[in-house]
């Protein structure tokens, strides 16, 4: 999937005719998060153990930070919500992004996509069929195994080393429970590709011949997933609980 970084959100919408390109839908869907009810009642979230004082308050952190995912244009992170690539566990994905942005250990990966001027590269999160990437393995004793792909990132880098905005695809088989971990992993790829697209493209080429888990890009993403995945998953549950509580009020 290719997105041209020079188009404004409006132009994208006009050209593609796809409702998910209208990030404003997303913005309105998130209205409950940015509504006064939400922002006026900040509550503590599970990052009390983290060094960043701001992280002690997820809502304050996200809403008071100029680099919020819900900027005025609302088109920095696209959630594909309709059509065949629509997210299967949309709310969990949204909650995961919220948790990743609020966690100081992971926020850097996604923060760079949000609050930017129109026309700058955006992040797209969608669902898809990644089964073609599955592989059958044989252990040294001949025992067969299968390795499945749960998520993938297309960094979408132009040959002159610029980012066109990465696309994260979550496999259709990935469950809601697995989603926070998968997104943590993919957020690392997306963030690294955005931070230094030219270097990322160079590394991808250099590492292409290596076994999947030997690639430094993968090892870094795996390390963050292992270290932060449980905290993100826990936060996602609490965000959901809070969201439901807000809805019922």
């Amino acid at each position: 999937m290719t997105l041209n970084q020079t188009f404004t959100a409006k132009e994208r919408e006009a050209e593609s005719g796809l409702d998910y390109f209208g990030a404003r839908y997303y913005g309105s869907a998130l209205g409950r998060f940015t509504s006064p009810d939400w922002s006026e009642k900040p509550e503590a979230v599970p990052y009390a153990n983290l060094a960043n004082p701001q992280s002690l308050n997820l809502y304050g952190y996200v809403l008071n930070n100029p680099l919020s995912q819900w900027d005025d244009n609302g088109h920095d992170i696209f959630y594909v919500t309709s059509g065949p690539s629509a997210l299967k566990n949309e709310q969990t994905v949204r909650n995961s992004v919220t948790a990743l942005l609020a966690n100081p250990n992971t926020s850097g990966y996604l923060q760079q996509f949000v609050g930017n001027a129109p026309g700058t590269p955006d992040l797209v999160i969608q669902n898809g069929d990644l089964s073609a990437g599955d592989s059958k393995t044989m252990a040294p004793d001949g025992t067969p195994g299968t390795s499945t792909v749960q998520g993938n990132t297309d960094p979408n880098i132009t040959t002159d080393g610029k980012s066109g905005g990465p696309i994260i695809t979550i496999d259709n088989r990935t469950t809601a429970a697995e989603t926070p971990g998968v997104l943590t992993h993919e957020a690392v790829h997306a963030g690294e590709s955005q931070k230094n697209p030219a270097q990322f493209a160079k590394d991808s080429k250099a590492e292409a011949g290596l076994a999947h888990d030997k690639r430094p890009q993968e090892q870094r993403a795996n390390a963050v997933q292992k270290a932060q995945g449980p905290a993100i998953a826990k936060a996602v549950k609490q965000i959901e609980k809070q969201r439901k509580k807000e809805q019922s009020q």
């Binding site: 041209n4 073609a132 044989m138 002159d160």
Partner: protein
């Protein structure tokens, strides 16, 4: 005599007419390419403006011709991938997949337009078997059985690491690639350890692929390298066994540890 000549001529014309009717219009290369493109796009839910790399693989077409023992040209084979270079008005965009290799192979019969999704789909192995049935293959030699296995490996419908290891040096190189890391120094020391343990064990073991008559068809065996073992950077050599039936159908692929000699 004149009547006889007239009869022969009319018979010839009738034959030619029947032949021309029987020879249905062949599918063009561009139509076949479009068919392959559509099949993968629909699997991936790609819209028309989304990138998909489509390449005809003429070498694989030749491999298929060897399997069928027929002239090439009856089938078009395409490799498709969402990775590759897209050229548009904004420049050249490099699409890569960080977490896996997503590639697809579609075979299109130019005579009837039938297509076979022999890689990248959950039922690709079945589609490959179906294609072989349509070819009307009759395996009569070890060479032909090996050609079937070669085609199977090239297509790799289940995405396995099963490149044949044909010598102890091949094994060493394959393991070295498996152990390779960045920076290289780390992988190198792990590899040295692996080689110390494994190299001497299989120094005298024959690695060549074999094909022998078996159960009405042929049993083809070759050596592969397994996934890395626990605590090791390299795997273990395994003997892959694949039965090729007389009609070209493939049996179950199995792997057993390679016996050292």
């Amino acid at each position: 005599m004149k009547m006889q000549r007239l009869f022969i001529r009319s018979l010839s014309i009738t034959f030619l007419l029947i032949s021309s009717v029987a020879a249905a219009p062949q599918m063009s290369e561009s139509a076949a390419r479009e068919r392959a493109n559509d099949l993968v796009r629909s699997k991936l839910n790609l819209r028309s403006e989304q990138f998909l790399d489509v390449r005809r693989d003429e070498e694989l077409e030749q491999s298929l011709a060897l399997v069928a023992n027929k002239q090439i040209g009856q089938y078009f084979i395409y490799r498709l991938s969402s990775s590759g270079y897209e050229v548009n008005e904004k420049g050249i965009i490099h699409h890569t997949s960080i977490d896996g290799e997503f590639s697809y192979i579609i075979v299109v019969n130019r005579a009837d337009g039938n297509s076979y999704r022999i890689r990248g789909f959950s039922h690709s192995l079945k589609e490959l078997q179906k294609l072989i049935v349509e070819l009307g293959v009759k395996i009569t030699s070890t060479d032909q059985a090996e050609a079937v296995v070669q085609f199977y490996r090239e297509v790799n419908p289940e995405n396995r690491s099963m490149a044949p290891i044909s010598s102890i040096f091949d094994l060493k190189q394959a393991a070295e690639r498996q152990c390779q890391t960045i920076p290289f120094e780390i992988g190198e020391s792990e590899f040295e350890e692996w080689w110390k343990r494994t190299g001497s064990l299989f120094a005298k073991t024959p690695f060549a692929q074999t094909a022998v008559p078996h159960d009405g068809g042929y049993l083809v065996e070759w050596v592969v390298l397994s996934s890395a073992g626990a605590g090791a950077c390299g795997g273990a050599p395994l003997r892959a066994e694949l039965q090729v039936n007389e009609d070209g159908q493939l049996g179950k692929l199995s792997f057993v540890p390679l016996r050292r000699k």
